[in-house]
Symmetry: C2
Subunit: 84 residues, 2 copies
């Protein structure tokens, strides 16, 4: 996926509201995404989209994502350094 496209998509979706501007979740139950494995993130976004992984908020966020969106978002978060 494309890191730049992924960054744009996070702005559109408001991912930072929960996952922070540096990919570090702002609340204890919101996971850190920075430096997470892209393939894992893709798998989970698809599971949220299909409902295979139940999640109140993420199912809404993922509902209309295309595979390209998912691949870009995963590439973006995987590109962030987990430790500033």
């Amino acid at each position: 996926g494309s890191v730049e496209q992924g960054l744009e998509k996070t702005k559109e979706l408001g991912c930072r509201t929960c996952h922070g501007k540096d990919g570090q979740g702002i609340m204890p139950i919101y996971p850190n995404l920075a430096g997470q494995k892209a393939a894992y993130l893709e798998q989970q976004l698809k599971a949220f989209r299909s409902g295979r992984r139940p999640a109140a908020q993420m199912s809404i966020v993922a509902k209309d994502l295309s595979n390209q969106d998912i691949s870009d978002l995963a590439a973006y978060y995987a590109s962030l350094k987990p430790c500033q």
Copy 2:
């Protein structure tokens, strides 16, 4: 939870086989756990245990975990530094 107890539990359960000795998943679809939020890890382990979050392997791993085990495992992985 207790980081030491958590470390012991990972040895008993073999978490390193997939999550690596430093909490960095050894395969693209195994998530990095190092420095992840403890509350998030607890929530997910409980979801694997109850089946609320379907996962072939993790449901087996989590099946017999007590709340204390879960709290210790979460504390352990949250204590690891994500960037060596």
